[in-house]
């Protein structure tokens, strides 16, 4: 049943599980646990549709690279899936086996822990059962770039797809306009005792549950933890610590332009770095997409440049060639965009501000920052791609200067893939949640969503985060069953 908390506050006294946030992770987790027979509260801060009133609570400051954090996320039923583009690429075993550059450990679990959940996650995002993640094109010679393999979801809009299930699943109470404004931790028991819920008129009430799950996205999950004075007092979170640290995005770099050799197919080409590339260059992973411009110019400067490049071997003085190349400027046949891995680093972080939002929750600052290792990844991907493009006689690539000259500020845009702020690790020294997504130092507080990602690879995060949500549902189900049997 979906109820509006602004109008009716008919909460039960307690739930088996309280989930904060009804985006993809929260919805799937809630439906799974309710279907398993548990009483579940799914509390969504926004309404059924977009509203400026709710979205304003996502406003945050930025001291780092421009993230568009106020617009990239959507704060209403279905969450950011309401404007999801639908691209799906699963994680691979190497994402879990190879630690990131920079000193922090990678995933504390093997890929096999989530591999079994891939078919179910594919079904959730409406991909054909058993479909192969297919390639648009061949890879590049040299072994550094494979064809990227992905599938496109319709895309799935979770609120619409699961509207009936959210209304009718027994045991599941969905409350919209139901904002979590505090987490109350009981240090003596190690349990999160309650969350404090609020409507938009700031009417508050405590809600107890056996287990709690934060599923509000990478920025808000960290914000909820940092905003809790009781968690702070207990040392579960600390300012400047791992909670909120390691904020990661995927880097959309305007690598440059390219000239495609005459006669080649005009379709876009998508490549993905191989494991050999990552190993050889000690770099991150990345997708690159070379797409022709909508209106390729076959005249004027472009034609002149193209003709020159296709006849580079001509008998002409070196100085003349260099001088010519140094001067030509043209739009090229197409542009190259990317989705490149960012390594976890503690300087890239969410931190709490003194200023409060309309509901009394502290606002946050986002400092999205890259490291020298990330610049190295961009440089390696750009330069190796360009070399292999030429080697295969596909044409030539003109890199933007900031790709190969790391002293020049990088020009990039985000992908709205927020990850890493409550990263998974084998111990509290390196992460916020354990291998079961439980917050270190607590008995019953869990996190779902891409904030748990220890590394982000260069895979779109929605489908993988669903695999983790399904795994968490199984864990909670098993844990609660075990507790029930122990009592019996």
């Amino acid at each position: 049943m979906i109820k509006d908390y602004q109008q009716q506050k008919a909460l039960r006294d307690s739930y088996d599980v309280c989930i904060i946030g009804a985006g993809p992770a929260g919805i799937i987790l809630g439906l799974r646990l309710a279907a398993a027979g548990w009483s579940v509260l799914l509390a969504e801060g926004g309404g059924r549709e977009y509203s400026a009133n709710s979205q304003a609570l996502y406003a945050c400051a930025s001291t780092g690279l421009e993230l568009y954090a106020g617009e990239a996320r959507l704060r209403y039923l279905g969450g950011t899936s309401n404007h999801w583009a639908g691209r799906c690429r699963p994680f691979s075993p190497s994402d879990f086996a190879v630690p990131p550059i920079g000193g922090l450990p990678g995933w504390p679990i093997p890929y096999s822990e989530i591999a079994g959940y891939l078919p179910a996650a594919m079904e959730i995002v409406d991909l054909p059962p058993g479909a192969d993640f297919h390639a648009l094109n061949a890879g590049l010679d040299g072994g550094d770039f494979e064809p990227d393999r992905f599938l496109l979801s319709p895309p799935t809009r979770f609120a619409q797809k699961y509207a009936t299930a959210l209304e009718q699943t027994p045991g599941l109470d969905v409350f919209i306009n139901c904002n979590c404004v505090n987490l109350e931790f009981d240090q003596s028991s190690g349990h999160l005792a309650a969350v404090v819920l609020s409507d938009y008129a700031c009417n508050r009430q405590r809600l107890a549950a056996r287990n709690f799950v934060l599923a509000t996205g990478a920025i808000e999950n960290a914000r909820q933890l940092l905003n809790s004075e009781s968690l702070l007092a207990a040392g579960i979170v600390s300012k400047g610590g791992l909670v909120g640290g390691c904020f990661m995005e995927h880097l959309n770099i305007d690598l440059g332009t390219f000239i495609l050799r005459s006669g080649l197919a005009p379709e876009p080409r998508e490549y993905y770095t191989s494991d050999a590339f990552v190993d050889e260059y000690k770099a991150g992973k990345g997708n690159v997409r070379a797409a022709l411009l909508a209106d390729v110019q076959t005249y004027g400067r472009t034609a002149e440049v193209k003709h020159f490049l296709e006849n580079l071997a001509c008998d002409m003085g070196v100085a003349s060639k260099i001088a010519f190349v140094a001067r030509f400027s043209c739009p090229g046949d197409g542009v190259i965009s990317t989705m490149i891995e960012q390594f976890p680093n503690l300087h890239s972080r969410i931190s709490l501000l003194d200023e409060k939002d309309a509901l009394g929750v502290a606002k946050v600052n986002v400092n999205w920052a890259l490291s020298a290792d990330d610049r190295h990844t961009v440089k390696c991907i750009g330069s190796e791609l360009a070399k292999q493009w030429a080697d295969m006689n596909l044409g030539f690539i003109k890199l933007n200067d900031f790709v190969y000259d790391t002293s020049i500020p990088l020009r990039l845009s985000p992908h709205a893939h927020h990850m890493g702020t409550t990263r998974m690790a084998s111990s509290a020294q390196f992460g916020v949640v354990d291998t079961n997504c439980r917050v270190f130092g607590t008995e019953n507080l869990y996190v779902a969503g891409s904030s748990i990602f220890a590394t982000g690879g260069a895979s779109n995060p929605t489908m993988p985060l669903l695999q983790f949500a399904l795994r968490l549902a199984d864990h909670l189900d098993a844990r609660m069953n075990a507790a029930r049997e122990a009592v019996a």
């Binding site: 440059g256 003709h307 020159f308 490049l309 006849n311 580079l312 071997a313 001509c314 008998d315 002409m316 003085g317 070196v318 100085a319 003349s320 060639k321 260099i322 001088a323 010519f324 190349v325 140094a326 001067r327 030509f328 400027s329 440089k379 330069s383 360009a386 070399k387 493009w389 030429a390 080697d391 030539f396 690539i397 003109k398 890199l399 933007n400 200067d401 190969y404 000259d405």
Partner: protein, 64 residues
């Protein structure tokens, strides 16, 4: 193949020096020598000129 016609003298000294500097950047990036007269051992070398990543073999003093 149509032969491109250029006159180095008309490009001017400044433009030529600028080109050399840009070629130097390529050398830094891909470990090729600024002179680009030699091909690095172990495979074809590349230079970056004005951002264009090009095989250095085309920039030898003498074509093979």
């Amino acid at each position: 193949m149509g032969k491109l016609t250029f006159c180095t003298a008309q490009l001017g000294r400044r433009g030529f020096l600028q080109s050399c500097v840009l070629l130097g950047v390529g050398g830094v990036v891909f470990a090729a020598t600024p002179a680009v007269a030699r091909q690095p051992a172990g495979g074809p070398g590349f230079v970056v000129i004005n951002g264009w990543v090009l095989p250095s073999r085309y920039f030898r003093d003498k074509q093979p």
